[in-house]
């Protein structure tokens, strides 16, 4: 399956990494792809490191294991860089996307000599400015879609608008700020390749 894209998410319990992986699966599904979205379940505690996964492909992917050699890694919480080997198995043809106010150059020495693409996005600042609370998953979702070129900006915006209307049916006031966070992230993700 040469056209398969594999993504691994690293976050902390409560930050929405699992939700982000499911939203990404949904958005990719809407573009006609075959998708898998699944977290690695464990004792669920707020703040504990968690991992979630996505496979996106043109035909049904038969593999049902975790992902050990991802094309892309998303780090939803910068403090995980000191705790988890986030670049383990990460393909050098791919990239890592990190939530941090730092530039890719500044963060690079924490990546165990990883030589692929390094991208950063200040999801905390975006989230606080748009939602007034810290929910980094929406900006991180937009950032990885942009970096991995999973779909174009307009398609993502349209798919997420639909998802948020469904997901936040009971709290419609958070839809517009989430969309704002999404759009800002698409333009603010910083590259070092």
């Amino acid at each position: 399956m040469s056209n398969m894209l594999e993504i691994r998410w690293h976050g902390r319990g409560g930050q929405g990494a699992k939700t982000a992986s499911l939203l990404l699966a949904e958005a990719a599904f809407d573009t006609g792809k075959f998708i898998q979205g699944f977290p690695e379940y464990g004792p669920e505690r707020m703040g504990a490191p968690i991992t979630a996964y996505n496979r996106i492909s043109d035909e049904r992917c038969p593999i049902h294991s975790n992902i050990y050699e991802p094309d892309y890694v998303v780090v939803v919480d910068e403090t995980l860089l000191d705790v988890v080997n986030v670049t383990a198995g990460l393909k050098e043809t791919g990239a890592i996307v990190i939530n941090t106010p730092k530039s890719p150059e500044e963060i690079k020495d924490k990546l165990n000599g990883y030589n692929g693409g390094v991208y950063t996005i200040d999801a905390r600042e975006i989230s606080m400015a748009t939602l007034g609370r810290y929910f980094p998953n929406t900006p991180m979702l937009a950032a990885v879609v942009k970096v991995a070129k999973i779909m174009d900006d307009d398609t993502l915006v349209e798919a997420m608008e639909k998802s948020f209307h469904h997901k936040f049916a009971n709290k419609p006031h958070v839809i517009a700020p989430n969309m704002e966070a999404l759009k800002r992230s698409l333009t603010e993700v910083k590259a070092h390749e």
């Binding site: 599904f29 998708i35 699944f38 038969p62 593999i63 049902h64």
Partner: protein, 394 residues
């Protein structure tokens, strides 16, 4: 026209239950099956089904309530996992021996202890001799399809037995993947109306269900129960044919994948089949004669058919996602090798216990099995047929 959607295995089974609209669902929540009654109770609350939903206080009560509903002539469904299934144990045998068609989705999880919420097959494999038919699905699509087919198998006049719709906890139950749903009206037409020939609330023809059977009658009762299980094999194949008409998807007792000229084969059950198929495809590209068999129906056990399918191989690895604790191998190994022996075939057979308690099963694990099989072919013998895959030895 099929409905393209993306659902977790549990969501898919809940949708199947909505489409089937059973008379009674009695359930008690346990991870990872909890979402099934959770989603289904929302369908009840929204008026999308007219099912009597009975939220009971334990799994023993859940199965008891299902038995009560079944004897009254109701189409009945429930779901559970692991220790929940263990708590149903006594009542599983009652449901089967009372010949009550019902469908229990078993979201496979390791049976304690040590306590573990993740996937293996120790729960349903323990219940393999309870008299229930057991279907195993590989992914969300098969969990959904089997839930629908199970109703027709269970209620068939020649069967009248309860059916377990088993699929892997978390790996299948919680992962979101593409699925093709069948239109509501087609599912309803496929399962039809449940019209039991005899039932307790039929005042025109009163019957007793589950009374005392003294030694002059008990044996004959069990003999008839066994006959229903024997009959079910043909019915399962028939129902699969009818299901193909509405879905386009093909099901049998098992799936033989690239087995025509295979010299080395793996036999396994559940979500790791896809991972193994990926490996088979890669090895085939290198010209290696490998194949696999995915067992879909474990009860009744398709012994003759399985033996036929394996008769040409030089060696076969049988993978069990639960240990047998008989010090000789897991249940799938014991039954497959027994089937081979009785039918006169003797490929070099080896057993691997794998994936216990959610231990991830990787493509490299499956590659190792095929590579071990090559060594067995070269050595032309199996020194140690009872092995472990992916365990850290002390």
């Amino acid at each position: 026209m099929a409905i393209r959607d993306k659902l977790s295995g549990n969501e898919a089974v809940a949708v199947a239950m909505r489409q089937i609209n059973p008379d009674v669902v009695a359930a008690f929540p346990i991870t990872p099956s909890t979402e099934i009654p959770q989603y289904f109770s929302a369908f009840v609350a929204n008026g999308q089904v007219d099912t009597e939903f009975v939220p009971v206080e334990s799994e023993h009560s859940a199965m008891s309530a299902c038995i009560g509903a079944g004897t009254a002539g109701a189409r009945t469904m429930t779901a559970t996992s692991a220790n929940g299934l263990a708590l149903m144990w006594e009542m599983l045998y009652i449901a089967a021996s009372c010949k009550l068609p019902m469908v229990l989705s078993v979201v496979n999880r390791a049976l304690s202890g040590p306590i573990n919420i993740h996937n293996d097959h120790s729960d349903s494999m323990g219940a393999r001799d309870s008299g229930w038919i057991q279907l195993y699905g590989e992914n969300n699509q098969e969990a959904y399809d089997n839930a629908i087919m199970a109703v027709r198998i269970a209620e068939h006049a020649d069967v009248q037995l309860p059916v377990m719709n088993c699929y892997d906890g978390f790996i299948t139950s919680h992962a979101v993947e593409n699925i093709e749903l069948i239109e509501d009206d087609k599912v309803k037409a496929f399962v039809g109306q449940y019209k039991p020939s005899t039932y307790m609330l039929n005042s025109d023809e009163q019957i007793a269900v589950g009374p005392l059977a003294v030694p002059t009658h008990y044996f004959e009762h069990k003999r008839q129960q066994a006959e229903s299980m024997r009959n079910s094999k043909e019915v399962i194949v028939e129902v699969a044919k009818a299901f193909k008409e509405i879905s386009g998807r093909e099901y049998g007792l098992f799936e033989a994948y690239k087995m025509e000229d295979a010299e080395r084969a793996i036999v396994l059950i559940g979500s790791s089949v896809g991972t193994a198929k990926f490996v088979v495809d890669a090895l085939r590209e290198k010209g290696e004669k490998v194949g696999l068999i995915k067992v879909r129906v474990f009860r009744p056990f398709p012994a003759e058919e399985l033996a036929q399918s394996l008769k040409g191989v030089k060696t076969v690895a049988i993978l069990d996602k639960c240990d047998g604790f008989n010090a000789k191998g897991g249940p799938l190994f014991s039954e497959t090798t027994s089937a081979l022996f009785v039918n006169g075939y003797t490929p070099l057979a080896v057993n691997y216990i794998y994936g216990l308690g959610g231990r991830d099963v990787k493509t490299t694990d499956i590659e190792k099995v095929y590579s071990d099989l090559s060594e067995i072919v070269t050595a032309n013998k199996v020194e140690d047929p009872y092995r472990y895959l992916g365990v850290v030895e002390a």
